[in-house]
């Protein structure tokens, strides 16, 4: 029995003979529980040639799973001249067709160990030489039959080097399971992984693996080799890679007279930058004004690593 996906477009090639030749003819292929209930149909006009000829009928399969009878009605000059019932077809349950597109866009150390990074003042997280790794990646997936929905994923972070047992990866990803809601899609475009290391530790290689949320299949893996020596405090000037988001829902960002971006009605600004997802004003409203010189934003109090914790973990 032919088995199709719900809503799938199919072609039925029908070998048909209609006499006499030269007659305006039609063939209709339709699916249904009975011949009086059409749930999917395709009909094609053709001119008979008096002998066997192939007629191609396009038909979109029903979306509801189940087994359907297949009927063929043959018309000559508008009148039914033959009726057939073909082998039934089965419409499968919708397959959650996960094809994540995960690109790893950036990898940055935002802060170093105290002995290498003390020029950064203040440390972004805590005072113990906390080391933070941000890996930006996109999770643009084919999910539930269309591109653009955010698929849930699982991930695992491992890293090499003399990292003490007290160090551990802290997942801090902005994945959303809710589709294309405004806020969800904003944060869904990037994910971050934060690694905290305590003084005296360092990591030379970080590997991020993305897994299918249901099957557990490894979908993508990529390793990063953070170049910790290239960092300078100037990295605190970040480049905005996406429109800033002004929270909460009522907030809007506009350009004020002094060419500063301000967030009105919102409590904080979130930006997706070359350093990953950052937030201004989350704890302190004075941080909200962000200098702007075209595509470059400056925020002396931008906090990175601010994100949602994931819904899935290994």
């Amino acid at each position: 029995m032919p088995t199709f996906q719900p809503g799938e477009g199919k072609i039925a090639a029908v070998a048909v003979t209609v006499v006499p030749s030269g007659m305006a003819s039609q063939i209709e292929v339709f699916l249904g529980p009975d011949e009086n209930t059409k749930v999917a149909s395709g009909i094609v006009d053709f001119v008979s040639n008096g002998e066997s000829q192939e007629v191609v009928v396009g038909i979109t399969m029903p979306t509801a799973p189940g087994t359907y009878n297949v009927y063929l009605d043959l018309y000559g000059e508008g009148s039914v001249i033959a009726k057939y019932q073909a082998e039934s077809v089965t419409i499968q349950e919708m397959v959650q067709n996960l094809v994540p597109y995960v690109s790893f866009a950036a990898c940055h150390w935002l802060c170093y160990h105290e002995d290498r990074c003390h020029s950064l003042d203040p440390p972004i997280f805590g005072a113990m030489g906390l080391q933070q790794l941000l890996i930006s990646f996109e999770n643009y997936s084919y999910w539930n039959g269309e591109w653009g929905n955010w698929a849930p994923i699982k991930y695992r972070l491992t890293y090499d080097g003399p990292v003490s047992p007290s160090s551990y990866p802290i997942p801090a990803m902005g994945f959303s399971y809710s589709g294309n809601a405004a806020a969800a899609s904003f944060f869904g475009y990037s994910g971050m992984v934060r690694v905290e290391c305590f003084p005296g530790e360092h990591t030379t290689k970080v590997t991020l693996e993305i897994f299918h949320p249901e099957s557990g299949e490894l979908l993508k893996t990529q390793s990063f080799y953070p170049d910790i020596a290239s960092r300078t405090p100037s990295d605190r000037v970040v480049t905005v890679l996406d429109d800033p988001y002004c929270g909460c829902d009522e907030g809007t960002i506009f350009v004020a007279d002094d060419n500063l971006y301000e967030c009105q009605g919102g409590d904080y600004v979130v930006v997706f930058t070359n350093l990953g997802l950052g937030v201004c004003g989350w704890d302190n409203p004075d941080e909200l004004k962000i200098g702007n010189d075209g595509r470059r934003y400056q925020c002396t109090q931008m906090h990175y690593g601010w994100a949602w914790y994931p819904q899935f973990s290994l």
Binding site: P2, F4, K10, I11, A12, A13, V14, A15, V16, T17, V18, V19, P20, M23, S25, I27, V29, S48, S52, V70, L72, L74, G76, E77, S79, V80, I81, A82, Y84, A86, E87, V89
Partner: protein, 113 residues
């Protein structure tokens, strides 16, 4: 009796389907019991579908007589005959100007791609 030609339209009719043919007949004299039969066949001696005899009363002027005929189930091109009787005497015999075409068709296979 030679058959006369009578004009006819809609020659393509579906197999196995009953159709109503309406013929305009003028019979003299008025007030006579008449019958008419419309039938299909390769010749008037081998009908393959017929309305049977339909009774009507002549009125001396054109009148419409209806015949219900179920088309043959087989493909073919069939002559159409109309006989009119007054009493037991066949007084008129007609042949349609066009044959009825009963189309045929068959589906040999269906392939999904």
């Amino acid at each position: 009796m030679d058959r006369q030609l009578v004009s006819m339209k809609d020659p393509v009719l579906a197999p196995g389907v009953a159709y109503t043919a309406t013929a305009t007949v003028t019979m003299f004299p008025a007030g006579q019991s008449c019958e008419a039969e419309l039938f299909l066949g390769e010749s008037d001696s081998s009908p393959v579908a017929t309305s049977g005899r339909v009774s009507f009363q002549s009125n001396g002027s054109p009148q419409q007589v209806q015949f219900q005929v179920t088309m043959p189930s087989q493909y073919g091109e069939y002559h159409v005959y109309l006989d009119v009787f007054m009493g037991s005497i066949r007084v008129l015999a007609f042949l349609g100007t066009e044959d009825v075409i009963v189309p045929g068709g068959s589906v040999d296979s269906i392939t999904w791609t």
